[in-house]
């Protein structure tokens, strides 16, 4: 199984470690080891242009199952641009062009014939500002699945409960599912947005600075949540908050001026950066 391969790759060969990993079935965040080598999503020499502006150069990265990958870097470094290429959301921006291969489960999705609607069910996205729909909490979750053809009250009820439990929101809202989503706090709204994304069972979830509009307690709740939902899927998070990246992610990629400068296990990136620019960024020379 993939668990074995990665454990062999790491310098820890102890049987205890393998056992502990497979029993908990969670990645060992403390050491930053990956337990999975299964690549879900991979980019090969991706370039993004806004009109004549070349915003992202030759970026190749792989995202693994059961892992959280953080994309960090100063504002305007191309990390969000890159994230928005992964579910082809950049196609919605006029004048934006994405070159290169984006392989989802071994199949290049960056082609004109790719079915965006099917793809985005598999690659979900959570945005910077909580953006629930102007609907009830219940409808926020069932809206997209119903548009995708899911029918039956029992099925939908169950989906709502599962998704809200998955997003650690069920206990707070189970008695007011028919209330407007806008009656919730910012942190609750963001968890509702995650629940809504979970309802379509994506393989990959992209988080675009999901906590930048939230208070510290809500931020920690979202981080916990990410670690819980990463099982059997890949998570990619863009964040400005370096503590967040080091707390939550298994691997980190550092972007600077449209280049993916350094990529590695999170611990290495934060403890032993190779690139001088990454080192400067981490030590607060610029942000």
């Amino acid at each position: 199984m993939s668990v074995e391969t990665s454990a062999v790759e790491t310098d820890s060969t102890s049987a205890d470690f393998m056992a502990s990993v497979s029993s908990s079935e969670k990645q060992n965040r403390v050491s930053g080891f990956a337990i999975s080598d299964e690549v879900v999503l991979e980019t090969k020499d991706v370039n993004v242009y806004y009109g004549n502006h070349h915003a992202l150069h030759d970026t190749s990265l792989a995202f693994h199952k059961d892992e959280i990958t953080a994309l960090i870097g100063p504002s305007g470094c191309g990390k969000s641009t890159f994230l928005r290429s992964l579910n082809l959301m950049n196609r919605e921006i006029r004048g934006c062009r994405v070159d290169g291969e984006i392989e989802y489960r071994g199949h290049n999705i960056n082609t004109p014939s790719e079915n965006l609607y099917e793809l985005r069910k598999s690659i979900g996205m959570v945005f910077q500002q909580p953006n629930p729909f102007h609907m009830s909490i219940y409808d926020n979750i069932t809206f997209a699945p119903r548009r995708h053809g899911v029918r039956g009250k029992d099925v939908l009820d169950q989906m709502v409960e599962e998704s809200l439990r998955g997003a650690a929101l069920w206990d707070e809202v189970k008695d007011k599912l028919d209330k407007s989503a806008f009656a919730l706090s910012g942190g609750q709204q963001q968890r509702l947005c995650i629940a809504r994304t979970l309802a379509v069972h994506p393989d990959v979830i992209l988080f675009d600075e999901p906590c930048s509009a939230l208070d510290p307690i809500s931020t920690l709740a979202i981080e916990d949540l990410m670690r819980n939902v990463v099982k059997d899927r890949a998570i990619v998070i863009v964040t400005h908050n370096m503590e967040q990246a080091s707390r939550v992610s298994n691997r980190t990629a550092f972007f600077y001026m449209g280049d993916m400068v350094e990529y590695g296990e999170t611990e290495q990136i934060f403890q032993r950066p190779n690139d001088a620019r990454l080192n400067d960024y981490l030590t607060g020379m610029f942000s």
Partner: protein
């Protein structure tokens, strides 16, 4: 040296503050003047027309002697009928146009030509629209002086207003709503119909009702299209829609309140004059009510959208 710099700064601050006070005063004066114009106009028209407006029969009787006697019941009905037909034609077209321009249109020559065309249409003098309507609908299509000709002419200058209003309303929907839908694998159409239009609805309703006020008071475009006279007798209870006296027949001529004012203003008789002022007061009251209704309905819808 340092002291003179400090003095210069003090003088500068004093000047800025004085300028700010002057600007505040001038701007307040301008707004006061505008309000004075509106209020004095409303009060003057009401003072001239209110007596007629509340005269028994003015709102319920048909006019007699070519409009110089009697009431304005048919003109009132015709105005509303024209308005409803106009909205029925222009609203779907405008909605479609605005959705296309905001959600679908690619940046390029077609979109900019469409936008320019819409803006040009909105600045066409309404009398020219009326003449065009007369030649095309009344003469070429053979609709003669009819409610339908009038409604189509009104549609032509209502469309640009509505397109602009709806476009603005859709553009004001936060981009995050659109992103959320698309990122869930929904199509642009699903996004527009189920999320964007409902969110934009308060602004759309407000805009539509305000545009209704303009359509309701229009005269020039109707002179040549729906004509300057209502049938002497209208029958509201017939199902014979082809009958020239059937109130609902869209091929009969009609006279809006504004056209009625234009028609009888030149009549010298004192009674005709009281009818003119009464009609003016009625028209103005209706338009004011539209504006108030637009605000109330828009606010109520917005409240329903956000809380509950």
């Amino acid at each position: 040296m340092a002291r003179s710099a400090a003095q210069a700064q003090d003088a500068y601050l004093e000047r800025s503050q004085r300028n700010d006070k002057i600007a505040t005063g001038v701007l307040t004066l301008i707004v006061g003047l505008v309000m004075l114009i509106v209020v004095s106009m409303v009060l003057f028209i009401l003072s001239q027309g209110i007596e007629t407006l509340f005269k028994p029969g003015f709102l319920t009787e048909a006019s007699r002697a070519n409009g110089t006697q009697g009431g304005v019941a048919y003109q009132l009905f015709d105005s509303f009928y024209l308005l409803i037909l106009t909205l029925a034609i222009s609203l779907p077209i405008s909605l479609g146009g605005a959705v296309f321009l905001v959600e679908y249109a690619p940046d390029g020559p077609i979109t900019s030509i469409a936008s320019t065309a819409i803006e040009t249409l909105s600045s066409l003098p309404s009398i020219v629209v009326g003449m065009f309507g007369f030649l095309v609908f009344s003469v070429n299509f053979g609709w003669k002086y009819s409610i339908l000709s009038g409604a189509v002419a009104l549609t032509m200058f209502n469309i640009p207003i509505l397109v602009r209003v709806i476009q603005q309303a859709l553009e004001d929907v936060p981009a995050s709503q659109r992103d959320a839908c698309l990122a869930m694998g929904l199509t642009r159409w699903e996004t527009t119909v189920h999320v964007l239009i409902p969110v934009a609805m308060p602004a759309i309703v407000t805009g539509v009702v305000l545009s209704a006020g303009r359509v309701f008071g229009e005269a020039a475009a109707l002179l040549f299209t729906s004509g300057m006279s209502s049938p002497v007798r209208l029958n509201f209870f017939t199902l014979n829609f082809a009958s020239p006296t059937c109130a609902w027949n869209v091929f009969r001529p009609a006279e809006s309140l504004a056209v009625h004012i234009y028609k009888i203003y030149g009549e010298g008789s004192p009674e005709a004059q009281t009818i003119v002022w009464g009609t003016a007061a009625l028209l103005m009251t209706c338009v004011l009510l539209f504006n108030v209704a637009a605000r109330i309905v828009g606010k109520a819808l917005a409240r329903r959208m956000t809380a509950e």
